[in-house]
């Protein structure tokens, strides 16, 4: 049965018979938020994310190595992003790539300390990272390990969500578009905020401005 003839739609249609829908308003032209790196950093830090600003990919790698040492990471799960290929051998700890032909087995992924990937876009107003499923295999790497390190290029920063959506719509939408704003959190017990629940407990963004 095609959707058009389904009883559910018929029920909806019959209830709406004779209705004159009011017009659909045009998309709101919001004043563009103060974009830029400073805004991004402020927004993400406000939700317990951390941003490390660097001028080059090489400097970004240094940051990563520093974090790994500070936090005693042993094993890192890395996405298959091309931009990270030069990092994978120089990280200084066991680096497992979640590639298409050799994905990290689930049981191993669950034991890793940290996941590393890149973001396709960043949203300055809210400190949000946008991950597109077909660009990179980072869906699980950005979710399962308790620590998350995400590399963002400053040139991929857009001012607000509206801009991000417009940009996404210039092509076919990814099958899964993940918007990530800081580490996971909950206030379900007595409204007391706890950072780090099921998703990562920490989010470190290495923001490359070169």
């Amino acid at each position: 049965m095609s959707a058009t003839d389904h009883p559910l739609l018929n029920a909806v249609r019959s209830r709406l018979k004779g209705t004159q829908p009011p017009p659909l308003p045009p998309v709101l032209d919001m004043p563009t938020a103060r974009g830029g790196v400073d805004a991004f950093c402020q927004a993400l830090e406000a939700v317990e994310g951390q941003v490390h600003r660097v001028k080059s990919s090489e400097d970004g790698l240094l940051i990563l190595r520093g974090l790994a040492a500070d936090r005693s990471w042993n094993a890192i799960a890395c996405s298959d992003a091309a931009a990270l290929s030069s990092w994978r051998d120089s990280v200084g700890l066991a680096c497992h790539v979640h590639g298409l032909r050799d994905p990290i087995p689930r049981s191993e992924l669950l034991e890793m300390d940290v996941g590393l990937c890149t973001a396709q876009l960043g949203i300055a107003e809210t400190g949000t990272l946008v991950l597109c499923s077909e660009s990179e295999r980072h869906r699980l790497v950005s979710l399962v390990p308790p620590a998350s390190v995400i590399v963002l290029f400053a040139r991929d920063l857009v001012p607000d969500l509206a801009s991000a959506l417009r940009q996404l719509q210039t092509q076919a939408l990814p099958t899964t578009t993940s918007f990530i704003t800081g580490p996971s959190r909950t206030a379900d017990i007595e409204l007391t905020l706890t950072v780090g629940v099921h998703g990562p407990r920490s989010v470190d963004v290495i923001l490359i401005e070169g």
């Binding site: 389904h6 909806v12 032909r101 959506l165 099958t175 996971s184």
Partner: protein, 482 residues
């Protein structure tokens, strides 16, 4: 389960008993007061940073008004676009059908270990009970939902389902149910949830989620959350089934912007929740990440009944933020369980009669003082008090005593001289009753509403003369005072 049967465990009719229980529970009332005040304050603080709030509200209201009035064409568009991208869309006219669809998919994919993220709709259809009856054990993974699942309770709030539980109660619950030492530290308790549920995520073969928005233009659906459990439910198992009401559709991808500005601020005072995940079809290649199968169930279950008039359609605009609960002075006193519905508070009072029928929930629209605080905070400008009035008028709640009372009263009040006379008789009678306790009780028996009033509230001394007597008695001619 038969169509038209109440929402699982619905006993809205028992509001009286349940609210009595709630009022006697000091711990619950302390928690409710604290939580509703805190949520309302957080919302206020978020709004202080949002000078365009009213513009956003009006935009959202207008989008919903248009979309709901043309819901058939938007649903069609959604289904067409979604199916073009490979999403498997199922229609369910009622809760029974929705449950059957989910368990059929589970059987067909040989999935039996189910993890669930927070979804009011799945509570509405009684999915957990149904899956249990089919030999599956669904595990709730949202912290608040997991807590109440362990406790065998229903959610008491749309956003924070376990908000009625203190940390001590949660600690005790975990200790009893999980066999661990009792802790009252919130961070520790949260870590317990993380530890215990990680294994469930890992070995689940079916993930069930709700949906926050359906986008007609692209055939996408959006799920938002803070904890990350939804992402895990939707990413690790081989099958993902999302269940949603048909009213969740919005026309354009760009419209997500205004709704995502309104919803988190209204619900929890956040500018944005930690995660939003937009799904546009299942993965493209077998080796790609994510589930093998992606399904969406579109549920009616009485929603289409609310499409007939513009006023009723407003109720379908609800984006489930919970703001109305947080400001409702009735909810603050009695909490969510008193309403006996999956949807409590002002919005619950308005939609439950449509979803569950007048017989089960016709009393809920009367559980309100019509103060209007809910209307002020609703991000999509639902005129809740007007809807409550409309439901009261169309309902058949009034017993013969009330109907007789108003019929008589209205005929008296339509006759000024008779009304004046009987008004004086009434106040004289009450005045007489006020001269002694025994007489007061007699008068209270004669006029039951008076008896109810006098139980906990005094009445002022009844005047000797009514205003109109004062007026005729000289007030009309009195000189203007200096």
């Amino acid at each position: 389960m038969t169509p038209g049967e109440p929402i699982v465990d619905l006993d809205a009719r028992n509001f009286g008993d349940r609210s009595q229980e709630a009022l006697a529970d000091d711990s619950l009332r302390g928690a409710l007061d604290k939580v509703t005040t805190e949520f309302a304050n957080r919302r206020q603080r978020a709004l202080a940073q949002a000078p365009d709030w009213e513009t956003w509200r009006e935009q959202a209201r207008a989008i919903k008004a248009h979309t709901l009035a043309s819901l058939d064409s938007y649903l069609l568009q959604f289904v067409e676009r979604a199916e073009e991208r490979g999403l498997q869309v199922h229609f369910a006219e009622d809760r029974e059908e929705a449950c059957s669809i989910v368990s059929a998919i589970a059987k067909q994919t040989e999935a039996s270990r189910v993890v669930k993220s927070k979804s009011m709709v799945t509570e509405e259809i009684g999915l957990n009970e149904h899956l249990l009856s089919q030999g599956m054990e669904p595990v709730e993974t949202d912290l608040g939902e997991w807590i109440i699942q362990l406790a065998g309770e229903k959610p008491s709030h749309i956003i924070a389902p376990a908000i009625h539980k203190t940390r001590q109660e949660v600690g005790r619950l975990f200790s009893e149910e999980l066999g661990i030492p009792e802790s009252h530290d919130v961070e520790e308790l949260t870590n317990v949830a993380r530890r215990f549920l990680r294994a469930r995520f890992a070995d689940a073969d079916l993930g069930v989620s709700g949906v926050n928005f359906l986008v007609a233009e692209t055939g996408s659906f959006l799920v938002l959350e803070n904890e990350g459990n939804a992402r895990l439910c939707m990413s690790l198992p081989k099958v993902h089934i999302a269940v949603t009401g048909i009213e969740k559709v919005i026309p354009r991808l760009a419209d997500l912007d205004v709704f995502l500005r309104l919803l988190p601020r209204s619900g929890t005072g956040q500018a944005l929740t930690t995660y939003q995940t937009l799904f546009t079809g299942p993965k493209l290649a077998p080796g790609d990440e994510g589930p093998e199968e992606l399904h969406l169930v579109l549920l009616d279950n009485g929603r289409s009944k609310q499409l007939s008039t513009p006023l009723e359609r407003e109720a379908l605009a609800c984006i489930r933020c919970g703001a109305c609960l947080n400001v409702c002075p009735v909810y603050k006193q009695v909490g969510g369980h008193s309403y006996g519905s999956v949807y409590p508070g002002p919005i619950g009072a308005v939609i439950t009669p449509a979803l569950a029928g007048q017989d089960c929930a016709g009393n809920l629209p009367h559980v309100s003082s019509l103060c209007g605080a809910c209307r002020d905070v609703c991000p999509v400008k639902i005129d809740l008090p007007e809807l409550l009035l409309d439901l009261r008028e169309r309902g058949t709640e009034a017993g013969w005593g009330e109907r007789w009372g108003f019929a008589a009263w209205s005929r008296i009040a339509a006759r000024p001289r008779l009304a004046g006379f009987l008004g004086r008789v009434l106040t004289r009678t009450v005045r007489l009753g006020q001269s002694s306790g025994a007489l007061s009780r007699m008068v209270g028996k004669l006029l039951p509403p008076l008896g109810v009033w006098n139980d906990k509230r005094s009445l002022p001394q009844m005047p000797k003369h009514s205003f109109r007597q004062e007026w005729k008695g000289g007030l009309d001619k009195q000189e203007p005072p200096t």
